[in-house]
Subunit: 202 residues, 2 copies
């Protein structure tokens, strides 16, 4: 299995370089479980599917603590047949995608309810792409049912679902969406945008 | 058919609000062919699949002309079974996705060769997701063959392909990737990031 993300951080400030470089230090506690490679467009994170979003949460919260309007985009993927298997990607927890959709929704909700608070309000939107399966809309609709029941659902939009709330439960919801839907060993991609300190919120 | 995009513009500057509002005026010539709805996270563009990327090119070039390091992210989609048919989405040109992959690669290359120059160097990366098909990797590999032959190919990355060159041929390459691959009436999504004026390039 191969899993990881291409992650980009966008602080809307003249000081964007310092804010990005400062925030990247927040990934230090994760470095033994992630392989990181940065280029001018994004940082590649390779590691277990269930720690990708928690690591991004710490990265994003470190940047948004500057008070600057900051956005993060991530292209998250697991099970891509074009990538080699990598032992660093072994999931920390056992999978549960052979469970019925309703049970996966319930388990996802419990995980979100137990998420720690980060004391940072964020807005987010995500699109989930279960690839190589005939019933891809079933998994998408199952995931949308989970998002609506997550406690951080904001609204449905064309092509994506918007979330809003504390960064703790919002990133846990993103993590549950990524790990709980699509085929167990299948190819799944997720497109995520997270925003904080927007002047639109003031 | 329903097609469109959720588009976000990120100028890394204290003046981000003015740069975004100024750039949005560049969409005026497209407004009779697109429906636009802006919220705090992104602008929804609904319209024919073959004008979405040209309109984004004008939006992005207007913002990057400020000289500020600017990035744009778009979630682009067509044929989503969860969205209603909409007459505004009727393609301008006739489809060609029943042609063999090699012919589609050749047609895409011709279109890129004919693209106008915008006098703005950009870097970009894209991921293509053909949904609800068993042979999704064939279409992805066909698209990658096109990208490698496009004249603006930069390099392959995990989960995406990076492009680099003038905004004219780069956005035409993105447009050809979006309209030329995946099933004719099928569900296809594309995740695109474009960047200009990065300090990493200096």
């Amino acid at each position: 299995m191969f899993s990881g993300a291409q992650v980009s951080l966008y602080p809307m400030s003249d000081d964007f370089v310092d804010i990005i470089l400062g925030a990247i230090e927040s990934l230090d506690p994760w470095r033994d479980r992630l392989r990181l490679e940065t280029d001018p467009l994004s940082t590649l994170m390779v590691g277990p599917p269930d720690i990708l979003l928690p690591a991004m949460r710490d990265l994003f919260c470190a940047a948004s603590r500057s008070g600057v309007h900051t956005t993060m985009h991530a292209t998250v993927s697991r099970g891509c047949p074009g990538e080699p298997d990598d032992p660093i990607c072994t999931p920390v927890a056992s999978g549960r995608r052979d469970m019925p959709l309703a049970d996966r929704v319930a388990e996802g909700r419990s995980a979100v309810a137990a998420a720690p608070s980060m004391n940072q309000t964020v807005a987010a939107q995500l699109s989930l792409y279960p690839l190589g399966v005939d019933h891809h809309m079933d998994e998408i609709y199952g995931c949308i049912a989970f998002l609506k029941a997550s406690g951080v659902f904001d609204r449905s939009k064309s092509f994506c679902t918007a979330l809003r709330g504390d960064a703790g439960p919002v990133f846990e919801t993103l993590s549950q969406a990524f790990t709980g839907f699509g085929a167990e060993a299948g190819h799944l991609a997720m497109d995520v945008t997270v925003s904080a300190n927007s002047p639109s919120d003031r």
